[in-house]
Amino acid sequence: MNNMKKSIFLAAIILFCSTTLFAAGTQYSLRVDGLSCPFCAYGIEKKLIHTEGVESVTVDLEKDLVIVNVQEGVVLTEAQLKQLVEDAGFTPRSMSEQLL
C-alpha cells in the first residue's frame, strides 16, 4: 500500500514538472521605430502589458526591439500588435514570433 502511495505521489510530481517545464508560450519580437527615451518607451510597455495573455514585455532601446511573451494558447495577430504599437504613438517596422 505504501509503495502504491509513493508511486502515485511520484507520478503526480512528474506530471506537474512536465506540464510546467513544457508549457509553451509564444515570444513576439517587434522592431519599433521612434523609441528614443526610456520614459516614452514605457508607454509601449504599458500598452502591451495590459493586453490579455501577455506575461512580460521587455524593451531594448539600443536595438529598437520590443519582446512580448504570451501565455500558452494565446495568439496575438500582426494586425493586433501593429495597432497596439501605433496606439502607443510609435511606428511598427517588423515582427517575428517563435514558440518557447
Partner: protein, 300 residues
C-alpha cells in the same frame, strides 16, 4: 507704481513652463513627444521666482512660489489633452508712506486645459521627429477679488485674472537616444476682466538636451542623464487699465536656462534655472532675477 504694470506678465510666463510637456523634453516649455492612447502621466513642479531689480523709488521685491500640477491623457496616439492646476503664493514688499509693507496672497490660480494634435511624425530606429500644434484656454478659477489691509489687491497680484484667455501655438521636437532639439512658438490672447486687460504674449522657445550618462538596470529600460540649455524669448504687449494702455508695462525678455534631467521609465526628475539675460521692459517695470524650477514627472 501699481504692481499690475508688470506682475501679471510674470505670473503668466512663470506658469507657462509648468504646463504641457510631460515626456523627456524641455523643462520650460512644451514638447511634441507622444503620450499613449488611453494612458496617463502626471507632473508636479515647484517653481520659485524672484525679482528685486527696481529702477523706481519703492525698492520693490517680488517673490512668487507656485506648485502647478499637470495631468495628461492620451485620447488617441495623436490627440492629447492636458489639465494644469496651479497653486500660487505671491508676495510683494515695497516702500510705502507708512513704511516698508508687504502684500501677499495664496491659493488656487487659474486652471488651464489644453489639447495637442500630432500633425506630423517621422519615426526611425532610435529617433523621432514630430510637429504638433496646440491650443489652450486659461479659465477664471482663481479668485480675482482678494483684499488685504491696504484694500483690494491690484488685478495682477490676484490669484486669477477673471478672464478666459486662449492660447495657440506649435511645437516641433527631434529626439534621438543621444540628444534632443525642440522649438516652440505660441501666442496668448489675454482678455479684459475687472477693467484690467493684460497685454497679449508671444513666445519663441528653443532647447537642446544632450545625454551625458547612461546607467540603470541591465535587463530593462536604462536610465538616462541629460544636460541641456533652453532659451525663452518672450514679448508682451502693454496692459490696459480702464481701456487705457499702461506705458509701464510689457516689453521683451530673453531667458537662458541650464537644465539637468534624470530620466527613468517611470519618472523624470529635473531642474532648470532661468536667467533673464536681456530685459527690455517698458517704463519703470521691475526686473527679474531668476526663475528656479524643480520638477517630477510620473508615468502611471
Amino acid at each position: 507704481m501699481r504692481p499690475s504694470h508688470w506682475l501679471g506678465w510674470w505670473c503668466s510666463l512663470f506658469l507657462f513652463g509648468a504646463t504641457f510637456q510631460l515626456s523627456a523634453a524641455p523643462i520650460t516649455f512644451n514638447s511634441a513627444l507622444p503620450v499613449s492612447k488611453g494612458e496617463g502621466e502626471v507632473r508636479v513642479q515647484a517653481k520659485y521666482l524672484r525679482a528685486t531689480d527696481d529702477p523706481g523709488p519703492m525698492s520693490r521685491e517680488l517673490t512668487v512660489k507656485a506648485l502647478p500640477i499637470v495631468g495628461v491623457w492620451g485620447v488617441t496616439s495623436r490627440w492629447t489633452i492636458f489639465g494644469i492646476v496651479p497653486l500660487l503664493d505671491k508676495t510683494m514688499e515695497l516702500d510705502m508712506p507708512s513704511g516698508r509693507s508687504k502684500r501677499s496672497v495664496n491659493g488656487l490660480g487659474d486652471v488651464t486645459t489644453m489639447v495637442r494634435y500630432t500633425a506630423y511624425s517621422k519615426d526611425q530606429p532610435g529617433r523621432t521627429v514630430r510637429i504638433a500644434p496646440f491650443a489652450s484656454i486659461e479659465m477664471p478659477t482663481g479668485k480675482d477679488d482678494e483684499q488685504d489691509r491696504f484694500g483690494r489687491l491690484p488685478a495682477s497680484l490676484q490669484l486669477g485674472s477673471g478672464a478666459w484667455n486662449p492660447l495657440i501655438g506649435v511645437v516641433a521636437t527631434a529626439q534621438s537616444l543621444e540628444k534632443e532639439w525642440a522649438v516652440s512658438a505660441s501666442y496668448k490672447f489675454n482678455n479684459e476682466a475687472n477693467n484690467f486687460e493684460r497685454g497679449d504674449e508671444a513666445r519663441l522657445d528653443l532647447s537642446y538636451h544632450r545625454r551625458v550618462w547612461i546607467g540603470g538596470p541591465t535587463d530593462g529600460l536604462p536610465h538616462f542623464f541629460y544636460a541641456g540649455v533652453e532659451s525663452n524669448g518672450v514679448w508682451q504687449g502693454k496692459n490696459r487699465n480702464n481701456g487705457q494702455k499702461n506705458p509701464n508695462s510689457g516689453g521683451t525678455t530673453l531667458y537662458l536656462a541650464p537644465t539637468l534631467q534624470y530620466v527613468t521609465q517611470r519618472a523624470i526628475t529635473e531642474v532648470a534655472l532661468q536667467l533673464p539675460v536681456m530685459q527690455n521692459l517698458n517704463g519703470s517695470a521691475l526686473k527679474q532675477d531668476f526663475i528656479f524650477t524643480l520638477s517630477l514627472r510620473l508615468n502611471y
